[in-house]
């Protein structure tokens, strides 16, 4: 095994082109797997010294670009995330525990793509895009096309996540993240990320993504679109939760049964939407 610590993004990409090379970000997942003898990359490319990956920038239009090496604690405390974008900081604050939040990065978490992780649904609800860079250059991929299957993403071999791009959330929207876990800091049994805007009882913005209920986070843009412009009462919420539930594909695991996930996630969505509406009406 070889260890390299490039100090530029270009050098990192170059180092990644070898067979069996892997990025080392926070190490919270990768080193744990190495300790358990589950993986042994031939080359570890530490991204520690690539300064550009550590920043978060808010552009004048409200777009926020978060470097892949931004740690969970920093994202949790990120004041540049505003309105509905706060869904991401709420999610970051609920990952693991303080020492792990001091280590883990948004790039590492998304690249690993644990279906029970907290960022994937939050990013999907925030309409985020991934900025990727590889030997052939840069490209961006919407979150909905990035998380493909169990632990599988759109990353090509030799490609790395450079940043996560959050579009501006419409002013006055609210973002929230709700997680059900066995104990504090555990991976989710199920989680709900949402961004909501209401104007005098009518829904102006609606994005709901559910985590841990299938190989990738689940969102029903088709139904969301139908609900825009109307109220968001029991019946409307029911339409959305029914549609989401149709798209769930959960499994039984040590955290909970698939059956429970199917039943509890719609209840969590309903509760989260009710609470988000309350939050909106309180801020008016």
């Amino acid at each position: 095994m070889e260890f390299v610590r490039p100090d530029s993004i270009e050098a990192a990409v170059a180092a990644l082109q070898a067979d069996g090379a892997a990025c080392l970000a926070g190490g919270a997942t990768l080193v744990a797997m190495m300790n358990a003898d589950l993986v042994a990359p031939d080359r570890l490319v530490s991204l520690r010294d690539v300064a550009a990956l550590r920043d978060a920038i808010r552009r004048p239009d409200g777009t926020v670009v978060i470097g892949a090496m931004r740690r969970h604690r920093e994202t949790a405390e990120e004041t540049d995330l505003r309105d509905g974008q706060r869904v991401l900081s709420e999610a970051a604050a609920q990952i693991a525990n303080p020492p792990v939040r001091n280590m883990g990065t948004i790039g590492g978490s998304c690249a690993f793509a644990d279906p029970a992780a907290d960022y994937p649904p939050a990013l999907l609800a925030a309409d985020a895009r991934f900025a990727l860079i590889g030997a052939v250059g840069r490209r961006t991929v919407p979150a909905g096309d990035f998380f493909l299957d169990w632990y599988e993403t759109a990353l090509e071999p030799g490609e790395l996540i450079e940043a996560v791009i959050l579009p501006p959330a419409p002013a006055g929207t609210v973002g929230s993240y709700t997680k059900l876990a066995r104990v504090a800091g555990d991976f989710a049994i199920a989680s709900v990320a949402l961004v909501l805007g209401m104007d005098g009882g009518a829904c102006t913005h609606l994005a709901v993504a559910v985590g841990a209920c299938g190989p990738a986070p689940v969102r029903r843009r088709d139904v969301e679109a139908e609900l825009i412009g109307g109220g968001l009462g029991d019946a409307e919420i029911r339409r959305l939760t029914d549609a989401l539930a149709e798209a769930f594909d959960p499994v039984d695991d040590v955290r909970a049964s698939a059956d429970y996930r199917r039943r509890v996630a719609p209840r969590m969505v309903r509760q989260a939407l009710v609470e988000a509406q309350q939050r909106l009406s309180e801020t008016l």
């Binding site: 095994m1 080392l24 190490g27 744990a32 300790n35 530490s46 020492p99 800091g185």
Partner: protein, 161 residues
């Protein structure tokens, strides 16, 4: 040990190691190379918190930190909580609070708890019970039920100047 040489800054001292393999963790180097056995290995998976140290002032898992990735960083272990030069047997206030508050039972979690608590206490304001509970939530203790630990850390935060 095969691998590269590296120098780590631990508790204020530069400590060279002749050869560290890429997969070797900071925890292993602290314990096996430096004899700093205060940091404990409870899981080697980042969950239990017994190996917690601070790197550049922030508590992290030494079992998930590769030693080669820790060069040029400031590492503090439980052995470094008492400032260098303090009289022999001196305790940091948080150590004293835990010892006197009956907050130490088997003691295996204690070094990690102290490191997390120490990082929390760098904040100026007195800490509320809930802030301490959240701050220590990455350190499992199977003996105490946490109450006396939380009380001790909250008390130590009030006693701060």
């Amino acid at each position: 040990m095969t691998g590269e040489p590296v120098t780590l800054r631990v508790n204020g001292a530069e400590r060279p190691v002749a050869a560290v393999a890429p997969w070797t963790t900071l925890l292993t180097v602290l314990r096996d190379e430096f004899g700093l056995t205060g940091a404990k290995r409870g899981c080697n998976q980042g969950v239990c918190g017994a190996c917690t140290v601070t790197i550049d002032g922030e508590p992290v898992r030494s079992c998930l930190s590769l030693a080669l990735n820790c060069a040029d960083r400031d590492i503090v272990t439980v052995e470094g909580l008492v400032p260098a030069g303090a009289p022999a047997g001196a305790l940091a206030p948080v150590q004293q609070a835990l010892a006197e508050g009956n907050a130490v039972q088997c003691g295996f979690c204690t070094p990690g708890i102290l490191i997390s608590a120490h990082a929390l206490l760098r904040r100026n304001a007195p800490l509320t019970v809930d802030e301490v509970r959240a701050g220590l939530s990455g350190n499992l203790c199977r003996c105490s039920g946490y109450k006396k630990i939380v009380e001790a850390v909250a008390r130590a935060s009030e006693a701060r100047p």
